[in-house]
Symmetry: C2
Subunit: 196 residues, 2 copies
């Protein structure tokens, strides 16, 4: 029995190729070739290239470990920082190429692919929601000033992270991510209550 | 005499098509067709599609009026806000499609087009520099806390704006831009010294 089905191979290859080349930058043929699959087999498994991209996005999201925002018993702001450090280390491991697949798909597909747009909106809303719930917890514990709105701040931080990641693809360095961390935590830590 | 040369028509069409479809999403033929130019004429005027994209970027940059950061005699933070409001109104005028061409080119071209990468880096560095000089001025006038680093904050704000613009393409609304403005000015205005 084959270790992975042809379908699985195609999704694996799509995750890798879409991330490296963008939705418009790679063809179905690029993906089937990378998967070692006959091009003709593609449409046996996927109705459209967009539907394949949606599966790749779901897998990318799983790999991004948003769940770690809720794991462990560290204080909420330490968990938040650890999450961004995990993502930064992953980007470094990719040599600051590729960027974030969510932002890449947004740039390529936001206007012409409503199903993908909805999936990206939901992904970012879920991520912002997770960050917001950590911030709310931090506020309850007195680590975030009461005059901050955790939901607004969470959306801003998630969007700002995306912008920092794009810039790190241009500088090919961590510097924009460090600028993000410095300013994000300046924004949060209006009072020096934690030793972050 | 023709009002615009064929070359100019191609650059105009490129600005429009690249912005709407991304670098990988449109072909040289899409651009020459939009310009009403024979496809064969393209390579008389441009050596590569990348070189055309660089001209389109230069024109986009001129249209983005970074110069307004230095114009007029309003207080620096009011000028900063007016600049972002100008950009937000432009995005609304585009119905929150298209996004920012700088960010779009970054997503499509950062890894494989070193000349474009350099041009994008320079564009963002110049923009960040302009924002930084306003922030420095604000600091000198006592409107920005002394413990903020104007250069780090400027880079962060420019990158964060890019992220907010990408998200506004997904939500098709101003909301992410307003989140940006709220949090950016929270970050700047650590003391309520101006009536922004």
């Amino acid at each position: 029995m084959a270790r992975a089905s042809l379908r699985e191979n195609i999704v694996d290859a799509a995750l890798e190729r879409f991330h490296a080349q963008g939705f418009n930058g790679c063809s179905v043929q690029d993906i089937t070739e990378a998967a070692g699959a006959p091009k003709g087999s593609f449409y046996n498994h996927f109705k459209t290239k967009e539907l394949l991209a949606l599966e790749a996005l779901a897998r990318y999201r799983d790999d991004s470990r948003m769940g770690m925002l809720f794991e462990g018993d560290k204080p909420p702001l330490k968990r938040l920082r650890a999450h961004f450090e995990f993502l930064a280390a992953r980007l470094k491991g990719w040599n600051f190429e590729r960027g974030c697949m969510i932002g890449n798909f947004a740039a390529d597909m936001a206007d012409d692919y409503p199903v993908m747009r909805e999936a990206l909106n939901e992904t970012l809303a879920r991520w912002s929601g997770a960050v917001g719930s950590l911030l709310r917890q931090a506020q309850a514990e007195g680590q975030l000033a009461q005059d901050r709105d955790p939901e607004v701040l969470a959306r801003f931080l998630v969007n700002s992270w995306q912008g920092a990641v794009t810039r790190s693809r241009l500088t090919k360095s961590r510097a924009p991510l460090d600028d993000f961390l410095t300013c994000a935590f300046d924004l949060i830590l209006v009072r020096p209550l934690i030793d972050a």
